[in-house]
Amino acid sequence: METFIATGLIGVSLGSQYALLALGFTLIFGILGVVNFAHGGFYVMGGYIAYYCSVVLGLPYALALVIASASTAAVGWLLENLILERVIDDHQATLMVTLGFNLIIATAVLVIFGAESPEFTFPIDGVWRSGGIYIPYANMVVLGVCLVAIALVYWLVYRSNVGRAMRAMAEDRAVASALGMRTKVLFPFAFALATGLCGMTGALVTPILALSPHVGDPVLAFSFLTVILGGLGSVTGATVAAFIVGLVDSYAAVYLGGSKGALTLFVLVLIILVILPQGLFGREVRRS
């Protein structure tokens, strides 16, 4: 029973990380109509920037976290403004550009930091225990930060004017821009927000899990899974699905072992897609 609860808590903590990744992914898709294949790349980038700032430069971890989020957001902003903007209406072209950019990030990381995974551990260690339940403090901090970030994203998307404008553009880009929403400002902003979230997740999670140039690929696959499950472009769907994926992932890892957990998830998602092509919370399949 205690294992069961502890596993559940790990699952929730995993879920909150997936939620941040999936929120970014789903924002980019919902608002820009772009499938961001560079998502895993931004995660890795965030992790390495945080590592560089906190371990190599010796800055406090919290500051490193902020720098990592800000710089991945800046790179995302530049990518959208300089390159993606030119081909924004062609979904194959945007896919190719983000794929190419993913390779560039991976190479840059490899060239700058080398293939070895660096020594990067979470600054807070220790374990909280109650009865037979053990939870590392690091996981609790990550969970807390993730929950705050998720709440902020919700506030931004559903309560602020920028969010209203972004949702209007997701609904109908042509009409929204005819009504005065500024595509040229909002698209890069949305993209930067999403990549910033992704970089922040990388900075938070890589010290707990692992940091190496290739940790981005599974992240991409899990972001895919989560957004398919939740419904592409749906913010609520992505959040709920992320927690489902996190829980299934951790329970399967404990009770089934090996790669059976991932297999279960993938098959589950495939079945859901066949029954509900629009995902759990998607309203309609976006034509793109």
Binding site: F29, V35, F37, I83, R86, V87, D90, H91, Q92, A93, L95, M96, V97, L99, G100, F101, N102, L103, I104, A106, T107, A108, L110, V111, A115, D217, A221, F224, L225, V227, I228, L232, G258, S259, K260, A262, L263, F266, V267, V269, L270, L273, V274, P277, V285, R286, R287, S288
Partner: protein, 343 residues
């Protein structure tokens, strides 16, 4: 029945078997047979193998793009084809290249039919994501299905294939086998996409409209998915034959990105595209490899530049340039004749 005097519809006119570009593509693939006969440099031979396998796999993407569906499922069907051949070769001792080729085509093609029934209802980005997930699943199944697939070790010790009793064992003979498989793949694709080009064009432009006009869209999508799987299976056979091993890493889900890149960079509009894309990018990877760790980044940069500069890929860019020049020439001729008529 139409009266003989009525203007005939374009498709009723007798069409040539293949278009010019298709003939060129097939001729290029057929010419690759000469490489193992003329060259002994192992570097060139292995390069030829890689290019032809890449191009054949990219055909799987090319066929699905006829209907504007971007498929990440190619490695999944390559694995089906490759493992089928490995099981037949290693466990049952079948080495006849023709039999193995038929099996490598048919097994994925048949498996694709029920799969297609499930996922071909999806379009656009959903299709992309689901085919990606499908490839991940197959990758995991290869690792988990130990008794059949050998798990993480793969199936080792694929015997040399035989062609009418002749063992194709040497380096050059292995390349010949790859050439043969590639030629079959290209022939099948050319005939198939040529035969149904109007149907595919209608589905690509607007599938809802096409269906409302009476075109059974699902039927063509299902056939195309199946043929695309079969051609991918041939590429899987070629890989297993070259490596003499069927291993999950040959069919990694991220390798689908390469095949898509070959097709898009080469040009998704013509069958020449996948061949040009594979030829160029495989050579580029090899060339970039001189720069060591920079190689994937340069590859990524190349993808971005081609996407921005040449939307229709390199073949699309070339045909556009040719057409523009022809049009200019045509205008000039018209001008000339008008001037002549006046004078």
């Amino acid at each position: 029945m139409t009266s003989p005097s009525a203007a005939r519809l374009p498709e009723e006119r007798r069409q040539p078997l293949f278009s010019g570009v298709e003939w060129i593509t097939l001729a290029l693939v057929a010419m690759s047979f000469a490489i193992p006969l003329l060259v002994t440099n192992p570097q060139v031979l292995s390069q030829t193998n890689l290019i032809l396998i890449g191009a054949t796999a990219a055909l799987g993407v090319f066929i699905m793009l006829r209907m504007d569906l971007m498929s990440f499922a190619v490695p999944c069907f390559m694995a089906l084809g490759g493992y089928t051949v490995a099981i037949l070769g290693i466990q049952l001792g079948i080495t006849d290249v023709i039999l193995l080729g038929i099996a490598a085509f048919l097994v994925p093609a048949i498996c694709a039919i029920p799969l297609g029934a499930l996922i071909l209802r999806l379009k656009g980005v959903y299709f992309v994501l689901v085919t990606f997930v499908l490839t991940e699943i197959v990758q995991l199944l290869l690792f988990e299905g130990e008794p059949l697939t050998g798990g993480a070790n793969g199936l080792v010790g694929m015997p040399a294939v035989t062609f009418f009793g002749v063992e194709l064992f040497s380096n050059a003979q292995v390349v010949l086998t790859t050439c043969g498989l590639a030629l079959v793949g290209f022939l099948v694709t050319a005939i198939f996409t040529r035969r149904f080009r109007y149907e595919f064009a209608a589905i690509e432009k607007n599938d809802v409209l096409a269906e409302s006009l009476g075109l059974a869209g699902w039927k063509y999508k299902a056939i195309a998915f199946s043929v695309s799987a079969g051609v991918s299976g041939l590429a899987g056979f070629a890989i297993v034959n070259v490596l003499m091993t069927a291993h999950p890493s040959s069919f990694a889900s991220m390798s689908s990105v390469n095949y898509i890149t070959y097709t898009i960079v080469g040009g998704k509009g013509q069958i020449l595209g996948p061949l040009v894309g594979a030829g160029l990018l495989v050579s580029a990877t090899d060339y970039f490899a001189l720069r060591g760790e920079f190689s994937p980044g340069l590859f990524g940069l190349l993808i971005i530049v081609v996407t921005l500069v040449a939307g229709g890929g390199l073949v699309g860019l070339a045909t556009n340039l040719l057409r523009r020049r022809e049009r200019k020439a045509g205008v000039a001729v018209k001008e000339l004749s008008r001037v002549e008529a006046r004078s």
